[in-house]
């Protein structure tokens, strides 16, 4: 009897929780359809850029003077450092944004909640994706379109397309199985993050005739345990390091660290390399350079 009562009492909150979740899901689904192209702002542009890759695109399209604010993480080109800062992806400062009186905000799909707040104040918002190479091209072209720089945008996109085409022609000595490490603590082998499926780094590897060993994975940038790495056993490891790191030193360090794992194909053959530069991890207009650097590296691997 006691149990029966307990069961009945437990049900009613469960039902109400389920109902609430259902309503929220319906509301969210309803909001999904509200996406439309933002109107082109009138008068002189005052652009706020909320991601390092969009900042790079804006400056490359000659819109540097129109940019009024950037994030704390926009470090390229150097002129971007002189612009007003409005926080980052996780800590946006809404007041600082409004104070800059922008009439166009360029941001990422991840900023959706923020985008709604800006739109509610009649500020034009352009959300551009930045995961794949196609995303980068699309970002360049749609920013060019809305800011009246279509021709420069087309030229920039074409230069990236030609870098892609020439990378396709270059065939490596072998269809190497590659692992791209985007983050690893210095001298450590715990907390290794790699490029997974749906990332432009995965595409770059395929483009130059390699296979990304983490091309099948649950996350786009999964954390890779040592056992998992041994299981997938890459023949080539390429580590990406930030600007300011000496790639020669970083390569030496990586080779020493990975050699601690016996049976790892890349470590045994010494096919471990480090590339340095922030452009490697910013899916922006410098992606052509990233492709060229990967191609050059692949040409050397024997």
């Amino acid at each position: 009897m006691k149990e029966l009562l307990l069961t009945r009492r437990c049900w009613s909150p469960l039902v109400s929780v389920a109902a609430t979740v259902g309503v929220i899901v319906l509301l969210l689904a309803g909001c999904e359809g509200a996406k439309e192209a933002p109107p082109i702002p009138e008068g002189a542009l005052r652009i706020l850029s909320l991601s390092p890759n969009t900042t790079e695109i804006l400056f490359r399209l000659g819109l540097g003077d129109e940019v009024v604010g950037v994030t704390d993480f926009c470090r390229y080109p150097p002129e971007a450092l002189e612009k007003a800062k409005v926080g980052g992806l996780l800590n946006p400062n809404l007041e600082a944004m409004f104070a800059l009186e922008p009439n166009l905000v360029v941001l990422l799909p991840a900023h959706e909640v923020l985008a709604r707040k800006l739109q509610s104040q009649k500020i034009a918002v352009l959300a551009v994706p930045n995961d794949t190479m196609a995303d980068v091209l699309e970002s360049i072209e749609s920013i060019g379109r809305i800011a009246g720089r279509s021709e420069r945008a087309a030229a920039l996109a074409d230069s990236i397309r030609s870098a892609i085409e020439s990378a396709k022609k270059m065939k490596p000595t072998q269809p190497w199985r590659v692992m791209i490490v985007v983050d690893r603590p210095r001298r450590g082998l715990a907390g290794i993050f790699v490029a997974g499926p749906g990332t432009y780094l995965d595409e770059v590897v395929q483009l130059i005739g390699g296979t990304n060993v983490f091309g099948q994975s649950l996350a786009r940038y999964p954390e890779a345990g040592i056992e998992e790495i041994l299981f997938r056993n890459p023949q080539v490891i390429i580590e990406l390091r930030p600007s300011g790191v000496d790639p020669v030193e970083a390569t030496e360090e990586a080779r020493i660290v990975w050699r601690r794992i016996p049976g790892l194909s890349a470590a045994e053959s010494g096919r471990i390399y480090a590339l340095a530069g922030d452009h490697l991890v910013v899916p922006g207009p410098r992606i052509g350079r990233t492709i060229e650097e990967f191609s050059a590296l692949f040409g050397e691997i024997r």
Binding site: F73, L89, L90, G191, E228
Partner: protein
């Protein structure tokens, strides 16, 4: 009735311990055969077994037992069933230490030492020290005041951690959150060796004080009237439990739930005498964590889930089942 059951229950716990010990290292992405573990050094499977999985097993056993013992001690010290190893802010302090290391870009190695655990230990030590000084000088050693001051400190350092996360780069925040989930991944015995001295010391001190702990549980006045130096005992218990917690958190991150629930399960199985409880916590805490980790490593083959996600998912329902079953038995 109870007494006759105790022997059987202890035997079952021992069986669970041995089973987990023998089975866990063979579960994983790469199938390991018996011939592999006696194979030649330098082969991949030999390395996976002896450098990845066995150290991980040892770390899990030590961490689980340490957390269970620390939880047991705090629950008795505060006579509060909700006390956990993290109630007094030790893990918040450790987490803040890790956040500082990440923010300062100090991850990796410095002077041959891995930086993150050192910072975690320093953060945990800072909280323990502040609270100890507070108890000695300001708020006094009253149990309630110690508890309240500890909870306040815990919130203070949690806020510092949130502040650090908010100010950090996206990837840095990601690493801090990952650390908070708690994990047993290790290469070699470094983290296990970090816990071992504290574990041995803790078990010895607690075992030596098992009768005093029983008396403390019945009430401070009763304990005092029986000649227990209550203030000194409380001070020592606080330091021992904090040491157990701090070293474990520094080595594996704040793995939740083990410290809260394992002592309760042991109490349900073995009664409230601390001599048995200490043995039970060691026999159940370690294998429980290792079993959770074995599941965490194998349930999603692509990636290794942090064990902290699994402990409550698995332990929670089991504990509820045991609770209901016992209540029915007593009614």
């Amino acid at each position: 009735m109870r007494i006759r059951n105790t022997g059987r229950t202890l035997a079952l716990l021992l069986l669970f311990f041995v089973t987990v010990l023998l089975v866990a290292p063979f579960l994983g992405r790469e199938a390991i055969r018996f011939s592999d573990i006696f194979g030649t050094e330098g082969t991949t499977r030999f390395f996976i077994f002896w450098t990845l999985r066995v150290p991980r097993l040892v770390l899990g056993l030590l961490a689980g037992a340490s957390l269970a013992l620390a939880g047991l001690t705090f629950q008795t010290l505060f006579r509060n069933p909700l006390a956990t190893p993290f109630t007094l802010g030790v893990s918040s302090g450790a987490a803040f230490g890790v956040a500082a290391a990440v923010l300062l870009g100090l991850e990796g190695y410095l002077l041959g030492l891995e930086v993150t655990p050192v910072f975690a230990l320093a953060g945990a030590g800072l909280v323990v020290y502040i609270l100890y000084r507070l108890a000695r000088t300001g708020v006094g050693l009253s149990t309630l005041h110690l508890l309240l001051a500890g909870v306040a400190l815990s919130y203070f350092f949690s806020s510092l951690l949130l502040f650090a996360q908010y100010m950090a780069d996206f990837t840095q925040t990601f690493r801090m959150v990952h650390w908070l989930m708690g994990r047993l991944e290790t290469i070699g015995y470094g983290p296990a060796l970090m816990i071992l001295p504290a574990f041995i010391f803790g078990v010895l001190i607690l075992a030596a004080n098992r009768r005093e702990l029983d008396l403390l549980l019945t009430g401070e006045e009763i304990a005092r009237s029986r000649g227990v130096p209550v203030d000194r005992l409380r001070k020592n218990l606080y330091l021992v439990a904090s040491l157990l917690t701090a070293t474990t958190v520094a080595a594996c991150g704040p793995i939740g739930f083990v410290g809260l629930v394992v002592p309760h399960i042991v109490r349900l199985l073995l009664g409230v005498t601390h001599g048995r409880l200490i043995v039970g916590c060691v026999l159940l805490g370690g294998p429980f964590l290792v079993a959770c980790d074995a599941i965490a490593r194998n349930v999603v083959p692509e990636t290794e889930l942090p064990v902290g996600i699994v402990t409550a998912l698995l332990g929670g329902p089991f504990f509820l089942w045991l609770l209901v079953k016992r209540q029915k038995g007593e009614a």
